[in-house]
């Protein structure tokens, strides 16, 4: 019985079958994988939106980014950055930038949501790029445990384990994530703004991104089980606290122990 099985496997027809099955699986797998990357480029905008967006762009952005978004010595080209980049940079107030520095900080938003959408429409019309994320991935309805694990592997080294910010080189920093809108967190992963690396949908799938957003939402809703957070920035704040108040208390008690009663 066993011998018969092995003999039949060596037949030429069997080999052909195995090869064609293998090709089918790998080809199918490839199609699935590429479709995952492609979903980020979608959303239709009307010609009117695009032309309105272009007007806003020319009035507010073109002096640095160039009349055709080709970029200049002062600012990068915006061709192919997609609506997600516009929504993130303008929607968090980072753009329009104020002065040059190591990093553009988050500040007061200068445009209305509609204006941001129009500018995004114009930039998206120049070349395909990351689109505004779908609402279903922004509701913080995912798995916070899995999101936490992904956050610790991919994000925590810069942003700190609870997203409380962290320093980089030469004045750059990974900002505090507390209070960030889900949409902006998603977009930041997708586009890799400024010095943040890109985490595309093949690396962290839209559902994984939703899990990470869920983890961040969980952190905001649940107080630290350990008590006083002291900014959650680790040994600097905690060390300073215990050196001043902990050691201070010990010194005070020691002085009292040694002092003679009145």
């Amino acid at each position: 019985m066993k011998n018969h099985f092995f003999r039949s496997r060596r037949k030429p027809l069997a080999a052909t079958l195995v090869i064609s099955a293998g090709l089918l699986f790998s080809g199918g797998g490839y199609a699935v994988a590429t479709s995952v990357v492609a979903t980020t480029v979608a959303t239709e905008y009307s010609a009117e939106q695009i032309s309105e967006g272009r007007k806003l762009f020319l009035a507010n952005c073109a002096s640095c980014h160039g009349l055709n978004s080709e970029g200049s010595a002062a600012a990068p080209s915006l061709i192919g950055v997609g609506a997600a980049s516009v929504d993130f940079q303008v929607g968090t107030g980072r753009m329009p930038g104020q002065g040059s520095g190591p990093q553009l900080p988050k500040k007061k938003v200068q445009f209305t949501d509609d204006q941001i959408t129009l500018m995004g429409a114009y930039i998206a019309s120049l070349a395909p790029g990351p689109a505004i994320p779908e609402q279903q991935y922004l509701e913080a309805t995912g798995d916070a445990t899995h999101g936490g694990e992904l956050f610790r592997i991919n994000c925590a080294m810069c942003h700190n384990a609870v997203g409380a910010a962290g320093a980089l080189t030469e004045g750059k920093y990974a900002p505090n994530l507390e209070g960030s809108e889900s949409k902006h967190v998603y977009e930041a992963m997708l586009i890799g703004p400024q010095n943040m690396p890109v985490f595309n949908d093949a690396n962290i799938t839209p559902q994984d991104k939703n899990d990470i957003i869920t983890y961040l939402a969980y952190l905001e809703e649940n107080p630290s089980a350990g008590g006083f957070e002291l900014g959650s920035i680790g040994p600097v704040a905690e060390g300073l606290f215990i050196w001043i108040f902990g050691l201070g208390l010990i010194v005070a008690i020691t002085v009292w122990l040694g002092a003679k009663s009145n």
Partner: protein
């Protein structure tokens, strides 16, 4: 200079020098022994009312301790730890507060009792000389001599020498046993799980990574294929084999001619274990291509084989030579060609 001249020299400068008891130089303006402070009578010794007050205070402290103990017992019941982790906070805080009061009350009360009510007088105890008296020293030498003559230690050379031999050799078996305390390190510091053909997979899922998935500016945190499914020694293997995968524009890479085949279309893979003390190096700046270690700010240049730009690390991060297989998945060409992580003795 002879001893006598030295002595005269010191005397001329007004120094006393006692050549009999060592070489200590005692300057003439040395601080005088202030002696004991004058005895100060406590209020509790002068006034019975104050003493009564102090008594009440001590009793109050002990009462605080009693209340603290009851409070801790009550808190343990009132703030139970449930499935919800945040309940730990209130439980620990109030239980700890009660226990602190119960111990602190006893301690503070006892010290206050001793300081205010127990007898108040000073005691002086003079230091004695470390050196024994001549009689004691002579007696000790006599004992040693007696032991030597009775045992014949100096006389019986055969016994003495065999004893020396026995004493010299007895620690050797212990040394051999110490060798069994842990598994031998062997070659484990020089090799990781990576070998030719191992696929690069995502941490923590173990999903293999296609070269086409890694867009420019992307960072992937990578573990070798098979690590995600491991049950034993998983963390040990991960601690050695963790890799950071980055894609740069090909023109940004400044590769050494003999290492151009180690990257694939601008995708480079480096060990994530810092060569300083082994922290995970993973703070990647997309625009400057600097890779930063969170522990001591060692900075590596991804464009030039992760050479050290700044910080305490002294060696570049080891590069994992990569390639793609027939299905487009990224694979390792081999293990790292040098040991990963911090320096060690035989490196």
């Amino acid at each position: 200079m002879a001893g006598k001249d030295l002595e005269k020299g010191f005397e001329a400068e007004g120094f006393e020098h006692d050549f009999e008891s060592g070489l200590a130089v005692i300057p003439p303006d040395k601080i005088k022994d202030p002696g004991l402070e004058p005895h100060r009578v406590r209020m509790t010794d002068k006034s019975p009312a104050k003493a009564r007050n102090a008594e009440v205070q001590v009793a109050a402290m002990f009462l605080v301790s009693v209340l603290g103990s009851f409070f801790a017992l009550w808190a343990y019941v009132a703030f139970p730890i449930t499935e919800d982790l945040s309940t730990v906070r209130a439980n620990n805080f109030f239980l700890g507060l009660g226990m602190t009061l119960s111990l602190f009350g006893i301690g503070i009360g006892a010290v206050h009792w001793a300081k205010t009510l127990m007898p108040d007088f000073e005691v002086t105890e003079a230091r004695h000389q470390t050196r024994g008296s001549e009689d004691v020293r002579a007696a000790a030498i006599e004992i040693v001599k007696l032991a030597d003559s009775e045992s014949g230690f100096s006389r019986r050379k055969l016994i003495r020498r065999t004893l020396y031999g026995a004493l010299a050799l007895f620690p050797l078996p212990a040394l051999i046993v110490f060798g069994d305390l842990g598994p031998p390190v062997g070659n484990t510091l020089r090799h990781t799980m990576w070998k030719a053909g191992t696929r690069l997979t995502k941490d923590p899922t173990g999903i293999p990574i296609k070269a086409s998935d890694v867009t420019i500016g992307s960072v992937f945190h990578v573990i070798p294929e098979g690590l995600a499914e491991m049950h034993e020694h998983k963390l040990e293997e991960k601690a050695k084999a963790a890799v950071l995968l980055v894609r740069l524009a090909q023109e940004d890479l400044n590769e050494a001619p003999e290492k151009t085949s180690w990257s694939y279309d601008g995708i480079v893979a480096y060990s994530k274990i810092c060569t300083h003390v082994g922290c995970p190096v993973a703070l990647y700046e997309q625009q400057t291509h600097h890779l930063l270690c969170p522990c001591h700010q060692s900075t590596f240049d991804v464009t030039e084989h992760c050479k050290v730009l700044f910080g305490p690390a002294s060696r570049p991060l080891p590069q994992l030579p990569i390639s793609v297989d027939a299905e487009g998945y990224l694979i390792a060409q081999s293990d790292f060609l040098e040991p990963v992580g911090p320096s060690f003795w035989e490196r």
